[in-house]
């Protein structure tokens, strides 16, 4: 398989402009600016079939096309580098090792929507990534790749690297915009949508790091080359972050549609120490966990994972072996969501912590059997009733762990302690 996103990742000093350029960097940007019209560029990206890699999988070209072309308001392009989905660390890799690819993608996307100010919103904890991006931006300004009237095109573009301050919710695009506007990171009511009313009420597009990093290659090699890879509905390649009980954790680039089981057992070296696989989360903590038997026929693409009852999401693969107490795992994630809820709307604000408290009670031996259906009901009451998808993100894993491992939960409740650990002792 030809690598796209990780094609140069091991090149030393790739983060420095001369190295990046000698590897073919900014060739696409020059071409776009010098000879492509925004509409043409958008069509090309549409034709590639590129879908948002942050987790929602929305077709990128289509997202760009929602920006009203004749609006007198300034347009904004925001690179969402707030990677905080548990199990996901691919954007970090790109930003630290190949920041110019991220930047070049940002520029291309900005041009597509005729934005003259682009932001790269990076989660605050990734200080090193911030430094790498800031340096890349400085180099690019110096070289005239960003700024006023680049290559005599008459097009101006400024890029601002904006450091977040620690809030998972700011990865949700409207919360990111609220945060960027200088408010608390509260998601906005939709409608209106960011494409027409985004940053400061102006047309805005928010794209994920990985999505943007794919653009230079797509523009260089053509939409058809990208679309030739992957499956019918999931084109191209995707980065998968693999962690947990796995022999070779790390970031992998796969062609969409790669068999999940094969990926885990062969490419990632399988579950170490002779242990059996017990469960795996395919797309980051928000996505329902799958049992080993459920991934037998699953391929890593949007449709296949959805058909199996989960979602590809951010591609954060968390592997859990037989030593894992699923009650504890569920509680761990419930605690994460309870902590990260922004608190704006009532079902999520109250419901997430409620679920965490019940899981905690079960974990610590004070659960009741009725607790399981209660959590399922709370989860169902949250889903679809919140301002933003965070509510769904918190509700899905809670329900999934119980549904998939109900026996273990019930045994834990009856025994008033973890039965998995007892078996191992």
């Amino acid at each position: 398989m030809e690598k796209i996103l990780l094609r140069n990742i091991d090149v030393p000093n790739l983060h420095q402009l001369p190295t990046y350029e000698s590897a073919g960097g900014y060739r696409s940007w020059r071409r776009v600016i010098e000879s492509m019209k925004p509409a043409e560029l958008t069509e090309e990206v549409k034709a590639s079939g590129l879908r948002g890699r942050g987790g929602a999988g929305f077709p990128t070209g289509m997202k760009w096309s929602f920006v009203p072309k004749d609006s007198p308001k300034p347009k904004y392009l925001v690179c969402n580098a707030d990677e905080s989905e548990p199990g996901t660390f691919k954007d970090r890799l790109l930003m630290e090792r190949d920041p110019h690819a991220v930047l070049e993608g940002t520029l291309i996307a900005a041009y597509a929507i005729q934005s003259h100010t682009a932001f790269i919103y990076i989660r605050g904890e990734l200080a090193f990534a911030v430094t790498r991006l800031e340096n890349a931006v400085a180099e690019a300004y110096q070289a005239g790749l960003i700024g006023k009237n680049m290559f005599g095109s008459g097009y101006d573009l400024d890029v601002i690297v904006h450091r977040g301050a620690g809030a998972y919710i700011c990865g949700e695009e409207t919360a990111l915009l609220s945060s960027l506007e200088g408010s608390r990171g509260w998601p906005k009511l939709k409608p209106p949508f960011p494409a027409t009313h985004g940053l400061f009420g102006c047309p805005t597009v928010v794209n994920n790091v990985e999505t943007l990093a794919a653009l230079p290659w797509i523009l260089d090699r053509g939409a058809a080359a990208y679309a030739a890879m992957g499956t019918e509905k999931s084109k191209g390649t995707k980065l998968f972050s693999v962690s947990g009980h796995i022999a070779k954790p790390g970031v992998y680039e796969l062609e969409m549609g790669y068999p999940f089981k094969k990926f885990l057992e062969e490419d990632c070296g399988g579950v170490p120490n002779g242990k059996r696989l017990k469960g795996v989360i395919p797309g980051g903590a928000s996505m329902p966990v799958l049992r080993p038997e459920e991934i037998e026929k699953v391929n890593l693409d949007y449709e296949s994972v959805q058909a199996a009852g989960s979602l590809l999401g951010s591609g954060g693969v968390i592997v859990m072996d037989e030593t894992t107490c699923m009650v504890q795992a569920a509680w761990n994630l419930a605690r994460f969501f309870a902590h990260e809820s922004c608190g704006q709307c009532s079902p999520c604000r109250e419901g997430c912590h409620w679920m965490e408290k019940i899981f905690h009670r079960i974990e610590h031996g004070e659960g009741e059997t009725a607790d399981l259906d209660l959590i399922l009901n709370i989860s169902s009451n949250i889903m679809g009733n919140t301002i933003c998808p965070f509510g769904d993100a918190a509700a899905m894993p809670a329900a999934a762990f119980i549904k998939k491992f109900r026996d273990e939960f019930e045994a834990h409740i009856v025994a008033r302690r973890c039965t998995v650990r007892r078996e191992l002792e």
């Binding site: 809820s341 419901g351 912590h353 301002i387």
Partner: protein, 530 residues
């Protein structure tokens, strides 16, 4: 106005583009429960209580933020909607303290009300509740309870959008989110207590009203605030013949949904004090109880014998009273100088949103009725202090508050005859030759004309004490003594009489005033004439 046709619960309605589902429902009287939505504030959409089902949309939508679209079909009572209301209420109640027995909001609490109407499920919450600050003083008039708060943010938006004072904010995240002031700052803007009115629960409560009386015992009388000439519409709420509190009444033409703090609590002063309960006449050694006949006779005699007369009517007297007073005074002395008490003051920017720069709610109406003179109240006071008058008839005001108290006291003492009609003992009444016990705003029915010329109705919320007479009754009795036979009985009768005589009021009838008042010279006034 672009017309849009939608269906709500099977009922077709034509509304206009730009309206939201909740606005249309409100107009039609279809009840959609809500917390964070308030018509005068920006849309927050955070409570999720107004979720409704809209045909062809897979998820439920919040009615407050869903704009109507042609052909839209809304269901406010579908099984999904009924279920989600229970769900949302459950979420709001799990961390809510069971404070009802000690919470002032009980009886007018939206959690209680919606629970009874939409929920009634027993609690399934068997883990620890989140705790927060309780009975935290936010300002001179407002106290906060963080546990009761449902984070609807109405209060925060009020301070941002209405007063623009920005004292309140939401702090923290998740279910530790709470409402807070910055550091040791205080919620003391001139409209601060309105947040108590808009808080749907007992999170923000009124310090003045705290623990006074259960709201279901209150009798509520619509009236007009006697604080200043804005004429905010209020509800006077009483218990055992005492005013417990004022609440605003909505009147978009006057005060929108608000009243100022000063007006809200002014009843303490205006309906308080050491109540006068019998007429008094000055004899050797002091003021002595007298009968009404004796007192009225003494006043008649005293004023006839005086060479010049200053007549000061309180700005809190009604049009009906002012009309009779003007008649009476002019009958007693054609050259008397009459005026309505009126003093201007500086207003802060926030006060200017609502407050008028005076404390005379009916100065305009009073002057319209004939209680006016060439040089105004200032002119009258100047002359009074210079000793220009031999006698004075002062109604409802302590004149020592109008200027330097010593100068006023000296001037009043020099008068050969001083009549004071008031509700309570004041520095002025102590100097009077005759004291007549009257009534205050809370005890009278009648009309005020506000600064902008809107005639509005007061209703009596209290029964005056036994020894007192209505101000209008006292004036009517005086008029009888002067030989005028009149039909001045009810305020309605007096109004009918004054409307005949005063041209600006000719198009009005007492009945036409209604609960929202009527503007002088308006088309509405014209219409009622027919």
């Amino acid at each position: 106005m672009d017309p849009v046709k939608i269906t709500i619960d099977g009922k077709e309605v034509v509304t206009s583009k730009g309206k939201t589902v909740i606005q249309v429902a409100d107009e039609l009287g279809i009840e959609i429960p809500r917390y964070c939505y308030y018509p005068k504030l920006s849309i927050a959409g955070n409570c999720r209580m107004c979720l409704v089902e809209i045909e062809k949309m897979p998820k439920l939508q919040i009615a407050c933020n869903t704009q109507v679209a042609e052909g839209m079909s809304v269901f406010t009572q579908s099984p999904k909607v009924l279920a989600v209301r229970k769900a949302v209420l459950e979420f709001l109640l799990i961390n809510h303290p069971v404070d009802c027995p000690i919470c002032d909001q009980a009886g007018e609490c939206w959690l209680q009300d919606y629970y009874m109407e939409h929920d009634r499920q027993p609690s399934r919450f068997h883990v620890g509740k989140v705790h927060d600050r309780k009975k935290t003083i936010f300002g001179p008039n407002v106290v906060f309870d963080g546990e009761r708060c449902i984070k609807c943010t109405r209060c925060v938006r009020f301070c941002q959008e209405i007063t623009k004072t920005n004292e309140l904010t939401v702090v923290n995240r998740s279910d530790h989110s709470t409402i807070a002031l910055f550091d040791d700052s205080v919620l003391d803007n001139p409209l601060s207590a309105n947040v108590v009115d808009i808080c749907p629960v007992g999170a923000l409560t009124d310090r003045d009203f705290r623990f006074k009386v259960r709201v279901w015992y209150l009798e509520k009388t619509p009236s007009i605030c006697p604080g200043c000439s804005t004429g905010c519409n209020i509800s006077v709420e009483t218990y055992q013949n005492r005013i417990a509190r004022f609440k605003p009444r909505i009147n978009e033409a006057v005060n929108s949904h608000w009243i100022c703090d000063e007006g809200r609590y002014c009843f303490h002063d205006l309906a308080g004090g050491e109540r006068l309960s019998t007429p008094l006449i000055r004899q050797e050694g002091g003021l002595v109880t007298a009968t009404w006949e004796q007192a009225l006779q003494a006043v008649s005699t005293g004023l006839k014998e005086s060479s010049s007369l200053a007549a000061i009517l309180s700005g809190r007297n009604t049009n009906e009273e002012a009309y009779l007073f003007a008649k009476l005074i002019k009958k007693l002395r054609a050259d008397a100088t009459l005026e309505v008490f009126y003093q201007e003051r500086e207003l802060s920017e926030v006060e200017k949103i609502l407050v008028s720069p005076d404390r005379s709610p009916n100065f305009r109406g009073g002057r319209d009725m004939g209680v006016n003179s060439k040089d105004g109240f200032d002119g009258l006071m100047r002359r009074l202090l210079s000793g220009d008058f031999a006698a004075a008839f002062i109604v409802g005001e302590d004149l020592t508050q109008a200027a330097d108290p010593e100068a006023v006291r000296t001037a009043l003492q020099k008068l050969s005859f001083l009549v004071v009609q008031d509700t309570r003992v004041t520095e002025t009444s102590k100097l009077a030759h005759v004291v007549l016990p009257g009534t205050h705003f809370g005890e009278k029915e009648g009309t005020y004309t506000n600064r902008k010329g809107r005639v509005q109705k007061l209703n009596a919320a209290l029964i005056p004490p036994e020894g007192a007479l209505q101000d209008s009754e006292i004036f009517a009795r005086f008029l009888e003594l002067t030989g005028e036979k009149n039909g001045y009985g009810t305020p309605q009768q007096i109004f009918t009489a004054l409307a005949r005589e005063i041209s600006a009021y000719q198009k009005l009838t007492y009945d036409s005033i209604g609960a929202q008042g009527i503007e002088l010279g308006s088309a509405a006034a014209e219409h009622h004439d027919r």
